[in-house]
């Protein structure tokens, strides 16, 4: 029983990170109908930015919580800027092109980010130093680490914040309006380009936060780390219903549990990718709109 509870806790920790990344996929899809396959690699870049930011900040005798906060904010800002640049350079020229062109471009951008990082920084994995106090609390046979608590709490806070932004603010309303009808909304005076840029920025900033949190739990980073995590987050977005923000959160936690519980059901944890992609395949065949997505009729 304690083992199961412990695993649930681990699942929550992983699921939080997946949910944060899945949000980026789902927001961009909601607004542009574009599967941004480069998102996982943006997460990887965020981890590298975090790595260099801590490297700069660590030696300056600052209190550790300040280093953590500053790293977090710097990484989120820089990653958001990167994502906005990518959107301007690669996706904007394809706004009116067939969707397939845009999807291929996204795949290309993702591979570019991987190989560019590999070429400039080398294939050697690097370790991000711990920024959170490592304390373990024992609650009824259950070991809870402070890192787990911080990851889950910050993630949930970020998700609540994002949900509020999308539901309550004018920007959020503009985002929802664009995803509803892209031709009429500009006529109402909504600056579509700016809102799309902002969507990329927010989605990537949230993924960057996920990256910093993730690297506190799993400190080893390398140029290809974004591939697997990106795919898992993407599956999370599809399982929850791509385009649906709460769906992405739900999907993230489901995938977190899938990853944690796979070794207890199947012989080895190396089957986890197989399980996740089978879930994706079955989901797409049975219910392509995901758990929380609305089913819309195709207009002819």
């Amino acid at each position: 029983m304690a083992v199961i509870l412990q695993q649930i806790l681990n699942g929550l920790q992983l699921g939080s990170v997946y949910a944060l990344i899945a949000l980026g996929y789902t927001m961009v899809y909601g607004i542009l109908r574009l599967i941004n396959f480069a998102h996982g690699d943006i997460f990887m870049i965020a981890c590298y930015i975090g790595f260099f930011a801590t490297g700069i900040l660590m030696g300056r005798h600052l209190p550790i919580w300040l280093v953590f906060t500053a790293t977090m904010l710097a990484t989120m800002t820089l990653t958001a800027l990167l994502a906005m640049t990518i959107e301007r350079a690669a996706y904007k020229p394809l706004r009116n092109a067939p969707r397939v062109s845009a999807v291929i471009t996204a795949l290309g951008v993702g591979l570019f980010l991987e190989h560019f990082t590999l070429a400039t920084l080398g294939p050697a994995p690097r370790a991000i130093p711990p920024l959170l106090p490592a304390a373990n609390y024992s609650v009824g046979g259950l070991t809870i680490s402070s890192v787990q608590v911080v990851i889950i709490v910050i993630s949930v806070l970020l998700m609540l914040l994002l949900d509020t932004v999308v539901r309550k603010t004018m920007t959020g309303m503009a985002m929802r309006a664009i995803s509803y009808d892209k031709t009429v909304v500009p006529l109402m005076g909504v600056p579509v380009d700016r809102i799309i840029s902002l969507t990329f920025a927010i989605g990537s900033a949230v993924a960057a936060a996920g990256g910093i949190l993730y690297s506190q739990a799993y400190p080893i980073i390398n140029p290809y780390m974004g591939v697997r995590i990106g795919w898992w987050a993407f599956i999370a977005a599809v399982v929850g219903g791509i385009g649906n923000i709460r769906g992405a959160m739900l999907g993230g936690y489901i995938l977190g549990f899938v990853e944690v519980f796979t070794p207890t059901i199947l012989p080895s944890s190396t089957y986890r990718d197989f399980v996740a992609f089978t879930i994706l395949l079955v989901m797409l065949i049975v219910r392509p709109t995901g758990l929380l997505g609305r089913i819309t009729a195709q207009k002819v």
Binding site: S101, L107, L111, A119
Partner: protein
Amino acid sequence: MMIESRRAPLLVLGTILRTRQTVLLVIVGLALSFFLERSGFVSSYILQILMYVGINIILTLSLNLVNGYMGEFSVGHAGFMAVGAYTASIITVWLFRNQAGALVFPIATLGAGIAAAATSIIVAIPSFRTRGDYLAIVTLAFNMIVKSLLENIDALGGPRGFLGMNRLTSLASVYAWCAITIYIVRNFVYSNFGRAVLSIREDEVASNLVSVNTRQTKVLVFVVAAFFAGVAGALFAHLVQFINPRTFSIQKSTDILVMVYLGGIGSIFGSILGATVYTVLLELLRPLGVWRWVLGPVMLVILMIGRPTGIMGLKEFAGFVPIEERARKKKEGTAVAAASH
């Protein structure tokens, strides 16, 4: 009507001539590839690149069938290639214990194609219901599942890979399979089925309404495309004599995509061009080291923004177009010109 009947013997003559031309071309090519291999006229390095070019032509052409002609979006072509590579290796290494050699290889290659074609049903069935980016995800998931399964089957070497194949692939066998692929794809595209495939690309609902059996057509296209991907996998496995699951990752699928979109969608000549240019280019850029891997994705992005239909872009080298088709196009062209005057 008069023109039609006067044209008829000309058409027959043209067809015979062209058939003879084609047969001659194939025989000369085969002889040349035998010669190149035996004579030591070119280095084994050049020989190897030539074989890579051939394998890539088969891959590109088969993916073009799905992405270019049918307008569906498959991004998991390396998955079929993996199925073919492993099947052929199992046949030659386990079934024949590496003994029968070159005689068994065509059978192993055929078997590889058939195995890959059988797995393509997994992708074809979801394509009945979903199109566009959702189908792209299905094919990607297929690629990932194949790779993940291969990594977990210990008998096949798991992540360490499968080895022990003899070098059975020769330039002549690659050339022969290339010719077969081009021949079948070309005849397929200009057949009645080919028309159905094109109609699905232009408008699926409308083609359904004019009684095109879209399901059957889709299955057929996926099966043919996967078959040749499997063949290419078999040739590849017996060329490098070592395969591991990582060889057949999304990276490989993306490479095939680049070749399709570089050469030109919906064009046989485009596929040959794209595969050749990309393969040779990557070889020439070898001194750049890791940086040459940056090239492919950048090229893909620039192509998508600048010329999403590729160099040939739905156009065909006249030699691949049936003479009847050219006559028809010409007549239509003059009719249009006459009407506009």
